[in-house]
């Protein structure tokens, strides 16, 4: 039994009302969409906030629409399950639909939301535990302690970004709209995250993630997703890999690879511009896989052998390209 701590629950009916509540209570308030991450973390006493602001009633955070320029705008409250069945998402953003379908299990996909997934708290085998368990270890950098149990002597929390939609949206150049009482701002999904597992995104406590905008994608761009996890359902990622490729006439013009479930920030593989102009094929995909492996160093923050995760990185890059239809199967 994991009882929730007492808190005051607010149910604002409009976005301005919600933003003024967040502004008023600051760090003492937690915005809650589906609650599938937040309530578990509250049960584990990871947060000390005394106010929960329920976002369920905010019409401004709902809906999926296509803009005249071809951009797709997704409301932050869009359920994960809706991303898997919405015709516009399935046809225009198939790698996002695939990533959404690989999140958790059916019940949690109905409850959880896109905004909640993007703002998912980082995860670590040493922190996502009951308070009793953590106290036995003396806490850690992220909560109630001064020691990192993953990186001995480490001073920077390396809890893992475990949101499967973020790598996909990063490879597609998506941006999020953040609102506060002071106004709105746009941040790219790639720039939303920072390398600090204690708070790995730049959304301020008084801000809400309102929507995600995926820009019009060039004709011919293909995108794919591959995920490693111990079971095919429920589990958070042990690797979460998204790719996007534009290769008109079979020649690489642009390629992007982002890897999640490493440390606090999804890693955008660097140096991919070197493949520009190459004739696309399995050999290029394998070189990209090898480059990804060189840059990515899975840690013992997830309960899946880091060495093994590193060994299978390149395979999953190839699988993501195959899922995108960019490689012949096999």
């Amino acid at each position: 039994m994991l009882p929730l701590p007492p808190f005051t629950y607010h149910a604002p009916a409009t976005l301005p009302e919600a933003l003024s509540l967040l502004s008023e209570h600051g760090m003492d308030a937690l915005p809650m969409a589906g609650g599938t991450d937040l309530l578990v973390n509250l049960k584990h006493r990871l947060y000390d906030a005394r106010h929960v602001v329920g976002l369920r009633g905010l019409p401004e955070l709902r809906g999926i629409r296509e803009e005249p320029d071809g951009a797709v705008v997704l409301g932050a409250l869009t359920p994960i399950a809706e991303l898997t069945r919405n015709p516009l998402v399935r046809s225009r953003l198939p790698s996002l639909a695939a990533a959404a379908g690989a999140i958790a299990g059916p019940q949690l996909r109905e409850m959880g939301t896109l905004g909640g997934n993007l703002c998912l708290d980082t995860r670590c085998v040493y922190v996502n535990q009951s308070r009793f368990w953590r106290q036995a270890l003396g806490g850690c950098l992220k909560k109630d302690g001064t020691t990192c149990h993953v990186v001995p002597g480490g001073r920077n929390c390396v809890a893992a970004a475990s949101c499967d939609t973020a790598p996909v949206l990063a490879t597609l150049g998506a941006r999020v709209n953040l609102a506060s009482v002071a106004g709105e701002r746009e941040v790219t999904v790639a720039a939303l995250y920072v390398a600090d597992g204690i708070r790995n995104h730049v959304r301020r406590p008084d801000e809400l993630l309102v929507s995600v905008r995926v820009p019009p994608l060039p004709a011919g761009l293909v995108a794919g997703f591959a995920k490693l996890r111990m079971r095919e359902a429920i589990d958070f990622p042990a690797l979460s890999i998204a790719v996007a490729l534009l290769a008109p006439g079979g020649r690489v013009e642009r390629v992007a690879v982002t890897v999640g479930a490493l440390a606090a920030r999804p890693h955008a593989v660097a140096g991919l511009e070197r493949f520009r102009g190459r004739i696309w094929g399995r050999d290029v995909a394998d070189e990209i896989g090898a480059l990804t492996r060189r840059q990515c160093h899975p840690l013992a923050n997830i309960n899946v052998d880091p060495e093994w995760r590193r060994e299978v990185l390149a395979v999953h890059v190839r699988r993501a390209f195959a899922a995108a239809g960019a490689l012949p199967a096999g």
């Binding site: 049960k43 299990g105 019940q107 949690l108 079971r231 299978v312 012949p328």
Partner: protein
């Protein structure tokens, strides 16, 4: 200061109820402790096991991660609501006929998830049943008979015949680990078939891949 208890009206299994709950009371606690509906089980209490699955406006959700104050005015169906008077739901009949339980702790959640599936898809494929029940854990690992019971409940076979519908012999790997099948397959050379780490046993390497195809059968 935590907010005061408030009266939250909603319907459970067709009955109007209005328990007085605290803001931090979960729907599961309200059902079990305030309304004495103990059929929904408290398993992990953190969203891993599915034992507390209920239908909220017909959609399967986890009652342990739902605040009671957030179901105001909504329609909740628990395992107690599946039977209509003395008449059991076909899913309950089938679980009984197939012996689809061992300790029984996961059973209410399994049957509620199965009800949600059959409500939207009266004749699901084996793969669709696996997918619909993939958020419900059975730690006795009695999955074979549970999957068969849903096939029986949907009138697709009789008790004991479920394995025949998969087209697999009992020793064969389950469909999700085999040829990929269905419209989500990448064809004969499906990359998911490639062993990731053949030296290590147990299908571990196959466990996580999610292809980019979005066909239902691919999930």
């Amino acid at each position: 200061m935590p907010g005061p208890r408030e009266v939250v009206p909603f319907t459970v299994n067709g009955d109007a109820v209005a328990p007085a709950v605290s803001p931090h009371t979960t729907l599961l606690e309200a059902l079990r402790e305030d309304l004495s509906l103990t059929g929904s089980k408290q398993g992990c209490d953190k969203g891993d096991c599915g034992a507390c699955t209920v239908l909220l406006d017909g959609v399967p959700v986890l009652a342990c991660l739902t605040l009671a104050v957030e179901v105001r005015g909504r329609r909740v169906t628990t395992i107690e609501g599946l039977a209509k008077g003395p008449k059991l739901d076909p899913i309950q009949e089938a679980f009984d006929a197939c012996g689809a339980l061992q300790c029984g702790f996961c059973q209410s959640g399994m049957m509620v998830s199965a009800r949600a599936l059959l409500d939207r898809n009266p004749r699901p494929s084996r793969r669709e049943i696996e997918e619909a029940l993939s958020g419900n854990l059975c730690r006795c690992t009695g999955y074979t008979k549970i999957l068969e019971a849903v096939q029986v409940a949907s009138g697709q076979c009789r008790p004991g015949e479920g394995a025949l519908l998969t087209g697999l012999d009992p020793g064969a790997p389950p469909p999700s680990l085999a040829s990929g099948g269905g419209e989500g397959s990448q064809g004969p050379g499906d990359p998911r078939e490639e062993p990731l780490f053949p030296a290590r046993a147990g299908g571990r390497g196959e466990g996580g891949t999610r292809a980019g195809g979005v066909a239902e059968s691919d999930r």
